[in-house]
């Protein structure tokens, strides 16, 4: 046990090779001729190669000799090849424990603090020695130490392992003589004794395998041939290399006792036997490297990159678990893997196993100042992970229970940072996943904050707000920058999404400004990146003294919360495993950077959302683009998919649904599994829009059904999706011409919005209601809805919605009769700047069309005098509607165009417009829309026919 040190540093054959190569680097004179004259650039290259190898985290198994040869060749070219061959032949010289012993002893020379002149070294040769505390020096010292604490059995074991490891060495070494010649000439060194293997130069002065090639039957050294006794003693002479290889091959093919007569009656440590099993030759890298590998895997799982297929990863994990049962992180990875492939029972099992084993022992790389008693450290983290897992699977009640328990245990154990993380997780749960109404009581029950008075009666949103504030306060007290950023962002998001309705909340000051306040949002948004950039650039005092607490906190909570929370919106930015102790890696700013950069990225996304809401889609697009371009390497899959989806939505608004759908296809290729729901939902929405525009009612109905099926059936969960689904349901009903049904559906949606405090969405619903009334022909009843939405959107600073409401209002006025055309036109002109600057294509077209209609209705307007005032907007509208495939409105635009052209007497253009109209109409009738519309269309067709 003691032989392996605390950090799991075991001397393996691969490390012996590394030591040999180190020797070649430091003391080439100990090696045979061509290598002893290595130029110093090549030697430095070799050093870099070794450094790289000792730190690599791209796998968990040490490379085999063949792989090492390959790597050497890649890194150093011809020199590497010769090095590999030399290495192989040197490895073959280790025949007894004594050989290893002498070798390790000789390694100490490489470390001597002062230059160590060796008689053999050339005059001009640079003498390099390893600094004791350099990375390579440390590596070497660890190797020597590991050997020194090895028991004799351990040495024997090493030798047996070595036998297995160096079997390919025979083939490599046999190529040696040929390659060496060529190499020797290229190096243009003196070639006196290059043509045969210079055995005498080898320091150990021992007869090697390579020399026994060809001179078979050296009976006197038969006992010392190759490693421990591989050779069956009965009757046979020592095997030479060729025979050995043959024997191996025979073993592999015949697989039989026949060849090795007596089967496995070999002495112990029979390497032929061992190697057959395949996995005997596998050695794990150092614990640090394995942990690094696991961390990388965790990150790639969480980002949904899936570099390795899940079963493959699982096999790897099982292998690691077998080779090093003490690395518990493996279970955590198993958990993550299961989690991301929605294997609930397996995830649960792995999670519990992980925390059972790791609880109380602290993380392997515990970062110093753990304020918490090591005995108690991690149970709360287990609960936290459990809670976030349930949240991930949508088990809201269980998640709440687990998180509540985590809060309690964290309080009990004075684990403040875990508490803060748990609070954040609770916020996330309340915010993103949504909570059923009855469960909310549980959510507040054990929280001291809610016990003050109103308790469970508070609405979820208010609980969330209080929680967020509490979280922010705690984070500020604890100086956890990522949590501060998270809470700020969440608060901003909360302000974005919700309107504070009640004047008196449990923890709020009275008389506070209670409205949708863009200024608040802006303040929070600006503040969060401020603190982020602050911490990134000049390690402010807050950060520097927070670093230790933070990293230990993160290690304690151990990457448990993070992406598992992956709902929608943005992620809990805290303790990604990628953060845990990356400090060791070069090229990173610090342990904090990843999560903080991620938060910064998220703030851009939020900005995009706020721009969208407050009316500037180009600005929103810019923010989204910034996120997608600059943060794609650190952002979580969730954020990234959100950014892409936003871009796609922007495309849909401005370039039409076809383009957007093809873009979305690309996105869905990029996010196969993780962000499935969101991408799918977006796709369905786009399809729905398209189908409704084209008049394909059946398709729309199917898509609508699918959309509502995406949402979880649990009450109160996935509210956003449910809203979308029912909203589209109303739209579909409207398209079928079932006005009463549509109005009823819209009212239900409104109720949903009201009960869930979704003021922003309720504005949309009001607009929809106004639209329904307008289409049903009762313009007067539509007016109050439009007016209501107008007022609401104004008070909530929702500029785009405000503009839309204005347009709707104008349309309603226009519908009321020709007398109101002037008023409608005034309204349209009022909102025109905003529409032109920021509105989407559809709004644009609608405004144009309405304006044209207004002009046509105006009594003092004459087509003959100024035709362009009408024709230009009509042309614009028609084009836009064509892009959006909105056949109905396009038909109307073309119809008006045809009529105007007719009046002007421009027959050619009239006919073109008429044909376009006919095309749209035919498409619509093919798609079979409602009778009312088709009747009106037929009527228009008739009129056009009369004209033509």
């Amino acid at each position: 046990m003691s032989g392996h040190g605390g950090s799991g540093f075991v001397l393996t054959p691969h490390k012996l090779s590394m030591c040999l190569l180190l020797q070649a680097y430091v003391l080439p004179s100990a090696w045979s001729r061509p290598l002893s004259l290595l130029s110093s650039p090549i030697r430095h290259q070799l050093a870099l190669f070794l450094l790289d190898l000792s730190k690599a985290v791209d796998g968990f198994l040490e490379p085999t000799l063949i792989e090492l040869e390959q790597l050497l060749k890649e890194a150093l070219g011809d020199v590497g090849e010769v090095l590999a061959q030399q290495l192989a032949s040197r490895l073959l010289t280790f025949l007894s424990p004594e050989d290893i012993f002498t070798f390790v002893l000789s390694l100490r020379e490489l470390l001597a603090p002062a230059p160590f002149p060796t008689p053999e070294s050339g005059a001009g040769e640079e003498q390099l020695l390893l600094e004791q505390n350099s990375l390579l020096g440390q590596f070497l010292r660890r190797c020597i130490l590991a050997f020194n604490v090895l028991s004799f059995e351990g040495t024997c074991r090493l030798l047996t392992d070595l036998d297995c490891y160096r079997r390919p060495a025979l083939t490599i070494a046999s190529e040696l003589s040929i390659k060496k010649e060529t190499f020797g000439t290229t190096l243009q060194q003196d070639e006196e004794d290059d043509d045969d293997l210079d055995v005498e130069n080898l320091p150990l002065q021992r007869q090697t395998m390579t020399t026994s090639v060809g001179e078979r039957g050296g009976a006197e050294n038969s006992s010392r041939t190759f490693g421990v006794q591989i050779v069956p003693t009965e009757g046979r002479q020592a095997l030479n290399a060729h025979e050995f290889v043959e024997l191996q091959e025979l073993d592999g093919q015949v697989g039989g006792g026949g060849v090795r007569d007596g089967g496995f009656a070999f002495a112990f440590g029979d390497s032929v036997n061992r190697s057959d099993s395949g996995n005997e030759c596998q050695f794990l890298r150092t614990h640090g490297q394995v942990e690094g590998y696991l961390r990388e895997q965790a990150v790639s799982i969480e980002k949904g990159l899936h570099r390795i297929s899940p079963p493959e990863l699982n096999a790897n994990l099982v292998l690691i678990g077998k080779l090093a049962p003490n690395i518990h992180r493996v279970h955590y990875l198993e958990y993550l893997n299961c989690l991301h492939h929605t294997d609930y029972p397996a995830a649960l099992t792995s999670l519990h196993r992980y925390f059972d084993y790791s609880a109380g022992r602290g993380a392997i790389n515990c970062g110093g100042s753990a304020a918490v008693d090591a005995n108690m450290g991690r149970f709360q983290a287990g609960l936290l992970s459990l809670g976030s897992m349930h949240a991930h699977f949508g088990h809201v009640t269980q998640a709440l229970q687990a998180l509540n328990e985590a809060v309690r245990i964290a309080q009990q154990n004075n684990d403040d940072s875990c508490l803060a993380h748990t609070l954040a997780a609770l916020c996330h749960l309340l915010d993103e996943v949504g909570v059923t109404v009855d469960a909310s009581a549980v959510g507040g029950a054990s929280d001291p904050v809610f016990e003050s008075g109103s308790g469970a009666s508070l609405a979820i949103q208010q609980q969330l707000l209080l929680l967020l504030r509490r979280c922010l306060r705690r984070a500020q007290e604890l100086k956890l920058p990522h949590l501060i950023a998270f809470s700020r962002l969440s608060l901003a998001k909360f302000d974005l999404k919700h309107v504070m309705r009640l004047p008196l909340l449990g923890g709020l000051r009275t008389g506070q400004q209670l409205a949708m306040a863009p200024s608040d949002v802006c303040k929070n948004l600006r503040l969060s990146p401020y603190i982020l950039s602050d911490s990134l650039t000049n390690q402010s005092p807050i950060i520097s003294n927070a670093t230790s607490t933070f990293s230990s906190a993160v290690q304690r909570s151990n990457g448990s919360v993070p992406v598992s929370l992956g709902g929608q919106g943005f992620n809990f930015p805290g303790s990604l495993p990628s953060v845990n102790g990356w400090s060791t890696l070069p090229g990173r700013i610090g342990p904090l950077s990843d999560s903080l950069i991620k938060s910064a990225g998220t703030s851009h996304l939020l900005r995009a959302a706020s721009w969208e809401l407050y009316g500037s889609s180009p600005m929103g697009r810019v923010s989204t683009l910034i996120h997608a371009y600059c943060y794609h390497d650190v952002a979580s899959a969730d954020d990234l998919s959100l950014a892409y989806v936003k871009l796609v939505q922007h495309l849909a608004l401005h370039k039409g649904y076809k383009v957007a759908l093809s873009a979305l296809d690309m996105v869905s290729k990029k996010f196969p599994l993780v962000a499935r729901t969101r991408v799918q939902a977006t796709k369905l929405q786009l399809l729905l829009h398209q189908a409704l525009n084209r008049g394909e009612i059946k398709l729309a109905q199917v898509a609508c059904g699918e959309l509502s099926a995406l949402a979880s059936p649990t009450l109160g969960v996935d509210i956003d999706l449910k809203f979308e689904a029912s909203f589209f349901y109303a739209l579909t009903l409207l398209a079928t011409g079932d006005y009463a049904g549509a109005a009823k559906a819209a009212q239900t949606v409104y109720c949903l919005c009201y009960s869930n405090d979704m003021q922003l969405n309720s504005v949309k619903v009001l607009l929809l209601l106004a639209d329904i009334h307008r289409k049903s022909g009762s313009f007067v009843t539509g007016l109050p809805f439009a007016l209501a939405s107008l007022t609401l959107s104004e008070s909530l600073n929702l500029d785009i919605l405000h503009a839309t409401a204005m347009v709707t209002l104008a349309e309603l006025w226009l519908g009321l009769g020709v007398d109101h055309a002037q008023r409608a036109l005034a309204l349209l002109e009022q909102c025109l700047p905003l529409v032109l600057g920021h509105g989407g294509l559809h709004l644009h077209a609608r405004t144009n069309l309405s304006m044209a209609r207004c002009h046509l209705c105006l009594p003092h307007y004459s087509v003959l005098l100024e035709p362009e005032t009408v024709l230009f907007p009509l042309q614009e509208a028609a084009e836009a509607f064509e892009i959006l495939e909105d056949k109905m409105l396009a038909a109307e635009a073309f119809y008006l165009q045809a009529v105007v052209y007719n009046a002007l007497g421009r027959l050619k253009e009239r006919d073109a417009a008429a044909t376009s109209f006919q095309r749209c109409t035919l498409a619509l009738t093919n798609a079979k829309i409602s009778k009312v519309y088709s009747a009106s269309l037929e009527c228009k067709c008739y009129i056009l026919g009369q004209l033509g």
Partner: protein, 580 residues
């Protein structure tokens, strides 16, 4: 009767032959087991009783025929048994190898046997190689990971053995012993289905090798597997089925089977021990204790199964008996895991937990997969308030055998101690899955749900109901149910459960606070319901207890009296009121 004795005689001849064959092949454990059963057979037919004289001639002819047929069967099963005598020169080498083997020089034995082609030598060579590998494996584990560490070391000989055995198996050259070893190797190579098939073939060809049955049992951890096995009808199969049932916690079925086996082998200590274990699993401690005592009378130096006996003594808190048992075990064989476990139990009973842990650790050093020691060590750590160590110990047990409900239960308890009832629920759930008819598990789950942190009373009530329907002997569930219903304001249900609990306590003749509480509630309830006579009855019973209960009862009495007087006068008043 005739069939009975004839079967006895045939069993006897079979077992005698089997013991010799097993010993020849170094399968001592099986031989020991077979010998135990042989001795366990009833006395020779001569003392069979008054019937024997009348039927003896018929019997004899029957015996003759049937035993001949059996012998034929054996000849078919072990064909190599006949030709082995003829190869004398090979026999010498075999004898040498066998003596090496007996001296535990496995490599030497295997080496001495090389080149010998007959099946017996072949088996012994493979077996010796396997054992040598096992020995090396054990040594290596200690070298690599220390005595209690986890390690991935595998038997280095497995691959070669598998190759050779599969080759022979493919050619059809493997006899029953060879296929037993092949099955073992396959099992360790994690080819479970193949191992099962090969072992089935082995036990069908040669049923008397108990080790093969045991391996098969280890492969039948899933209750659904058992019916799929292709096993010939044989009396050894009954032993197997009974043992598997015991392993699968189907204790009553197992007990029934052992009872029928006991008729055939009335003197078998093994059957006795297994029956005792079944009783223990059913928590029928008195029966189990009696059986174990009997076992110790006939076989005073027995250590196998005595750890279970010590568990019983522990539960019954028999200090003296436990110390006596421990003493005897130490004198017999100090370095047996069972011995260490017994001593650990003794110290645990004496509340010297550090020492207990020491002995459990020693037991685990002797046998790393000794399940109950892990669990018991977990209990000790819990007592020592070292929860992380306890969790670790339990977890190790669970990972060795995921069907160990005690360890799951222990994990649940530990987390409950840490005030994490929600987290603990997962573990209790696992335990209840394994023992759905164990009231204790349900009670534990109920307690979790009931805890003030979760306070999910409905779920708790459901759990306690399950406990009650599964014969909760301690009566925790009834009392809790009553209290919960009372808390939830469901007085009728509460009264029902209080009554039930009262009845239970009356039959058990147990006294205590529970009784008082039940009586008090019932008295109040009856009074509120207007059942004054019943109330009076409860009050009278309450008067037997002292303290506050008595005072309350007195007050209630007074109240009842006044109410009764009122009701006597009330009717007349009513009539006066309602008659105009």
């Amino acid at each position: 009767m005739a069939a009975f004795t004839s079967s006895t005689t045939s069993h006897r001849t079979q077992l005698r032959r089997a013991i010799r064959q097993l010993c020849d092949r170094g399968l001592y454990a099986s031989a020991k087991w077979a010998a135990e059963q042989l001795v366990g057979l009833p006395e020779e037919a001569s003392s069979a009783g008054p019937f024997s004289s009348t039927f003896s001639h018929i019997e004899k002819s029957k015996i003759g025929r049937s035993s001949k047929r059996r012998e034929n069967l054996i000849q078919i099963g072990v064909t190599n048994a006949s030709n082995e005598e003829e190869e004398d020169d090979e026999e010498d080498a075999f004898l040498l190898a066998k003596s090496f083997f007996d001296m535990r020089e496995y490599r030497r034995a295997a080496h001495a046997l090389r080149g010998l082609l007959d099946k017996k030598s072949f088996f012994l060579r493979c077996y010796a190689t396997y054992l040598a590998g096992e020995k090396r494996k054990e040594e290596e584990i200690i070298e690599v990971a220390g005595p209690l560490g986890r390690s991935d070391v595998v038997n280095p000989e497995l691959v070669g053995l598998e190759q050779e055995l599969s080759l022979q198996f493919g050619k059809g050259n493997l006899d029953a012993f060879g296929s037993y070893l092949y099955g073992v190797v396959l099992y360790e190579r994690d080819c479970k289905t193949e191992a099962r098939a090969v072992l089935c073939a082995s036990v069908n060809a040669y049923p008397w090798n108990w080790s093969a049955w045991l391996e098969l049992q280890a492969l039948c951890t899933d209750p659904d597997v058992l019916p799929t096995l292709n096993l010939n009808e044989h009396w050894m199969r009954d032993f197997f089925i009974a043992s598997v049932y015991l392993d699968l916690q189907k204790n009553s079925e197992s007990l029934a089977r052992y009872r029928s086996i006991h008729l055939l082998f009335p003197g078998s200590d093994y059957v006795l021990a297994q029956t005792a274990t079944a009783h223990y699993n059913l928590r029928e401690f008195d029966d189990a204790e009696g059986l174990f005592e009997e076992l110790l009378r006939t076989d005073p130096y027995r250590i196998e199964g005595m750890d279970t006996y010590s568990n019983i003594l522990y539960v019954k808190e028999c200090y003296a008996a436990l110390s006596h048992l421990a003493h005897k075990a130490v004198l017999t064989d100090k370095y047996r895991p069972e011995t260490c476990c017994i001593i650990g139990n003794y110290y645990s009973l004496k509340a010297q937990h550090e020492k207990a842990v020491l002995y459990f650790k020693r037991a685990l050093k002797l046998n790393r997969k000794y399940l109950s020691a892990w669990t018991l060590m977990g209990h000790e750590y819990v007592e020592m308030k070292n929860t992380p160590a306890a969790i670790d110990a339990y977890r190790r047990a669970v990972d060795i055998n995921p069907r160990d409900y005690r360890a799951w239960y222990g994990l649940g308890q530990t987390y409950e101690i840490l005030a994490m009832p929600y987290y603990a629920l997962y573990y209790y759930r696992r335990a209840t899955q394994l023992r759905p008819h164990d009231a204790r598990m349900w009670c534990a789950m109920g307690q979790c749900y009931e805890s003030e942190q979760l306070s999910m009373h409905d779920a708790a009530i459901r759990c306690y109901r399950r406990a009650v329907s599964n014969n909760d002997r301690e009566g925790i569930a009834l009392h809790k149910l009553a209290k919960l219903h009372n808390q939830l304001g469901q007085a009728d249900q509460a009264a029902y459960y209080y009554k039930e609990n009262l009845e239970r306590m009356e039959t058990d003749q147990s006294e205590g606070q529970d009784v008082v509480e039940a009586l008090q509630f019932l008295a109040m309830h009856c009074k509120n319901q207007g059942l004054l006579e019943e109330c009076e009855r409860y009050c009278t019973r309450l008067m037997d207890y002292g303290g506050k209960a008595k005072e309350d009862a007195k007050a209630l009495f007074r109240e009842i009296r006044s109410v009764q007087q009122h009701t006597l006068t009330m009717p007349s008043m009513d009539i006066e009121q309602f008659t105009p």
